[in-house]
Symmetry: C2
Subunit: 315 residues, 2 copies
């Protein structure tokens, strides 16, 4: 589960200058809500090219592509017990189920600036809190001996409105999910950690790996987080974006043991629950790390970085 990218306590002035610079150059477009931005074509091109590069360096994974909308079934959120750990981050989709008279009251309430949300009821869907969630039910059944590897690019939602530019409410993760025997999965995670460090290094990013934990909610959450750190279930790769002292997580690696496999019935050939792991790049944070490190003008980026992202067509 890529349930979070670690918070980076920002150097406020540096963060604000970076945000203002991105907006002034049309890399980001304002949407009037903290943590919600449009993306201009230059910003988007960097994401597109980095995404292609990830596909290129991961060819030996022979990953199967899948594509999911930015929503999952409410039942899936319940099944993984998401609310036990991250109630504050969830995005539940509500709509209107009333008649004509109630619709008039709803529209009136909205025009008067009132809380019209409370006149709605929950639908069958919620915003995707982690790109990999819809993959697990789809993997249900017995795996082939070599296991499976799946990749996807997915919109993810986190309810954490913030003026801090790397902390978005809605962003994309390029993820890989590996299912198989524990040793296959752990070896894969270790290989990906090195591969990701190499990839980010080749783009001139001062990337460093670190043991990490998810932002579990409340007092009980602290215990879960320290257990997660102790068992090294989660790693992150960090790059300075809005603060040199507190670098930003741009990539995360999670080992779930048999947590998801046992819930969804993903089995090894021996009939036992398989193990799963996932890794993912926070695409907007990768782009921001590049703009922070090399400047706001991709045309001025170091030639080696440009050649890696936009390889010249051989003559």
């Amino acid at each position: 589960m890529v349930a979070s990218l670690a918070p980076a306590a920002a150097d406020h002035a540096e963060a604000e200058a970076f945000r203002a610079g991105m907006l002034a150059r049309g890399l980001l477009l304002p949407m009037g809500v903290p943590g919600l931005f449009g993306r201009g074509p230059v910003f988007e091109d960097v994401i597109e090219r980095f995404n292609a590069l990830v596909s290129e360096v991961s060819r030996e994974d022979h990953a199967e592509w899948v594509h999911f909308p930015p929503l999952i079934g409410r039942h899936l959120l319940e099944r993984v017990n998401y609310l036990d750990s991250f109630p504050h981050l969830c995005g539940s989709v509500h709509s209107f189920f009333g008649d004509t008279l109630q619709a008039l009251a709803l529209a009136e309430r909205a025009k008067a600036g009132g809380n019209w949300g409370e006149l709605l009821g929950p639908t069958d869907v919620v915003l995707t809190p982690a790109g990999c969630y819809p993959v697990y039910p789809w993997l249900a059944g017995t795996l082939p001996p070599q296991g499976r590897c799946v990749t996807l690019l997915s919109w993810v939602f986190r309810h954490e409105p913030s003026a801090e530019p790397t902390r978005l409410q809605s962003f994309r993760m390029r993820e890989f999910v590996r299912a198989g025997r524990a040793e296959q999965v752990l070896e894969w995670r270790e290989r990906w950690l090195q591969r990701a460090l190499g990839l980010l290094g080749s783009l001139g990013l001062p990337a460093e790996a670190s043991v990490a934990s998810d932002p579990f909610f409340g007092r009980g959450g602290r215990l879960l987080a320290s257990e997660q750190r102790e068992q090294k279930l989660k790693f992150e790769i960090l790059v300075p974006v809005i603060s040199q002292r507190e670098p930003t997580a741009v990539c995360s690696f999670n080992y779930h043991r048999d947590h998801f496999a046992s819930i969804f019935g993903i089995r090894s050939t021996d009939g036992e629950s398989a193990s799963t792991s996932c890794m993912g790049f926070g695409m907007e944070r990768i782009a921001m790390a590049l703009f922070k490190t090399h400047g706001f003008e991709p045309a001025q980026w170091p030639p080696a970085v440009r050649e890696r992202l936009w390889p010249s067509v051989p003559a």
Copy 2:
């Protein structure tokens, strides 16, 4: 506003056979919720190629690309008075604002299969109901003499769960928004209508244009719909997908007069409110129309259609 693609009353057996065929071949992936599917790589490739083709045939528009997340600010939905017309389709995002004790109650309620949604409160964001909405505030100001044209590919939400495979809750629209003087905008819409008919025809789709209306809510809505038809503010292009008798809207064209321009302050050089129009392709419906018309195996599609979507690289 592409607020809806007209409902197509389905031939039930034909719709069900088509849905089952798409799922059996992994073109769509089940997600356990009506109107919510994953997309397999073959389905996605068709969308990607069609999207590239749209860019190619629209080059003379010199459209500016923008990219928005699947969410917009709640204030934007209020500002365009969405709830007056489509309360039943809205997707309001709610989250948890309580303390540790309330979080325990929330998790308990979810585990007991209860309505945990009512323990949440509305956030600052809602799901994007029409891809073009975030474009209008961004266009605020005085337009250049030739006006502006903007294009985007956006995830759109409609709360209309249905077993009918073309009626998705979450789907993508490739849209174009044109802002300028009324005659510029109307001429552009007419040109795009012919261009879209030509494009779909070149893909072997039996496409037909028709005057249309949005699915306004309630009794008052019928009046709005008939006024919209009378003034020919909305056109759709229809292709049979799940029913020959009731073809499916795959493309829609809307003329807004100065509705959005006056709300958001989009002005012509003379200082008057500009006019706006938008057009959009329902990408999943286009793909489904192709699979329905030419069969489930793109390798077996007519050579002319294949060459149009996957042009061979010149030797």
